[in-house]
Symmetry: C2
Subunit: 305 residues, 2 copies
């Protein structure tokens, strides 16, 4: 058996620290030096049977646990700085399994330039739950999901749909894109597409207090996996782009008449609108010249009444 204290000692060496970390892994709390006056904070779990399967490689589970949170930070335009990792470890586990999980955590942190500064390990008769907290400096303004205005064009930083093909485990969080967008005066609101484009857009409309939006079917970037999963059915692939979850691209708006500056990390595709915010209530899809109502279904947790 390996005790929590032995593991903590091992993890202090396992997770590299850096100069802005005054107190890292192994004390009651981490202490970090904030460079900006504002700090972004978010916290999302990944749970066996909900966000991954029992057979999912543990490195990928660790990676997803980190990147889901970095994608939320990205949608705020924050830097990806510090991570806390809390693991509910199934009682049957061996230390080697835990280390595989934590290798995934470490590689995702390194890829984004973030550092693991603390967390907790607790053994329980429960499925694996990995709850990562991500925190980062907000250097300029924060991007908000409540900042859409009628007339804004809508954009996404990457293709949509079919994430179940493996993307949901292996995506790269769009931290650079988010930081760049936050520095653009032309940009309005932004969010991370995690529950499906239609549902996340509906949430933005509601948060912004604006009536509706139109999406252009022909302009939606459909991930190759969505087409593959739809077996060549174009409508099937489109539905996946609209409603599949866990794309983890950024959905953002650009003010009417304003322009994004040149350069930066956006693809040419991300600069082309996929739709616009309109004064007519509801969510609609423009396809072959006609407008149809768009179902806002997507992934939502439900709690009984």
């Amino acid at each position: 058996m390996t005790s929590e204290r032995e593991l903590t000692a091992r993890l202090r060496a396992f997770f590299p620290q850096r100069a802005d970390v005054r107190v890292g892994v192994g004390d009651d709390a981490a202490v970090v030096g904030a460079r900006a006056s504002h700090v972004a904070l978010c916290c999302d779990p990944v749970i066996e049977g909900v966000h991954f399967l029992p057979e999912t490689p543990l490195e990928l589970v660790g990676r997803k646990a980190v990147n889901r949170n970095l994608s939320d930070l990205a949608a705020t335009g924050a830097d990806a700085d510090w991570l806390l990792v809390s693991v509910v470890v199934p009682r049957s586990w061996q230390a080697a399994q835990l280390m595989r999980l934590l290798r995934g955590v470490r590689s995702a942190a390194l890829a984004a330039g973030a550092v693991v500064v603390g967390g907790d390990l607790a053994v329980a008769d429960a499925p694996l739950v990995v709850t990562v907290t991500a925190a980062g400096n907000v250097r300029g303004r924060a991007l908000l999901r409540s900042d859409l205005r009628v007339g804004d064009t809508l954009h996404v930083t990457g293709p949509l749909g079919g994430s179940i093909d493996g993307h949901h485990l292996k995506f790269r969080p769009h931290v650079c894109e988010g930081r760049w967008l936050a520095a653009q005066r032309a940009v309005g609101g932004a969010t991370d597409v995690s529950d499906g484009l239609a549902l996340d857009l509906a949430t933005m409309l509601e948060a912004s207090g604006v009536p509706g939006a139109e999406l252009d079917a022909a302009a939606l970037p459909v991930r190759a996996a969505a087409r593959r999963l739809a077996k060549g059915d174009r409508d099937g692939a489109l539905q996946r782009a609209l409603h599949d979850g866990e794309d983890h691209v950024l959905l953002f708006s650009v003010r009417r008449g304003a322009a994004l500056s040149r350069g930066g990390p956006l693809t040419a595709r991300a600069r082309r609108p996929i739709g616009r915010v309109v004064a007519e209530p509801g969510l609609r899809l423009r396809r072959a010249g006609a407008l149809e109502d768009l179902d806002r279904r997507g992934f939502e947790h439900e709690v009984g009444r």
Copy 2:
């Protein structure tokens, strides 16, 4: 059924915000304004079957989930400012159960002057897991568990043992005490007593790279519940004070020859030493004039090899 989005909208009103919260509940990430140059961060879960029983009132579960983390912040000397709450909700739950849990979270936050700024709800076939992240400004220095020196006297901010009697659900985190201690030049190291005095002290010795410590049996403040649970057996009560977990008082040291200033939140009892850091290796208990070796057992999670 109540959707995640309906709940989030309800929770925005449920958790009061304050001026230093730029973005609170309901966006991709929270954004808070740091007053100090350093921020303390910690994250600990409470899990059904490990930290509470299926029959534990949910208000108390929510309260414990918050206070466990505030006690860790307290041990760093940080303010209790911002909380994220991530809940793995059992699939069988009704919305009323979730709200009972969150009322406990809210009341603990209010009691400490902290605000809930975000989090996540995920429904799963799993026992209840509540993972709270706590963050706070560090105004002066941070208290470290690695800051003991030979010659320091040892102190605790409250009585020890018998927390299973209910204290582990209802304790008040010693945030004021921690903040005051951080401002005292006489104070050395500090930690939160969560796994039992002997084990947490052994961890401090190791982290500080000092050889050993002696505790005085007659000086240990024993909680009345520990005496009750020991049914009048004095040694039984002492063993509980030394090894029971979840006391959530602060264990701190005072430098040799230095004195704590008058006033402040410490009790007279907390100002009297319970022992000292010594040059002889190991942990010992002084009882009836004799020194005996002290077992460092306490609560530790174990992961198989």
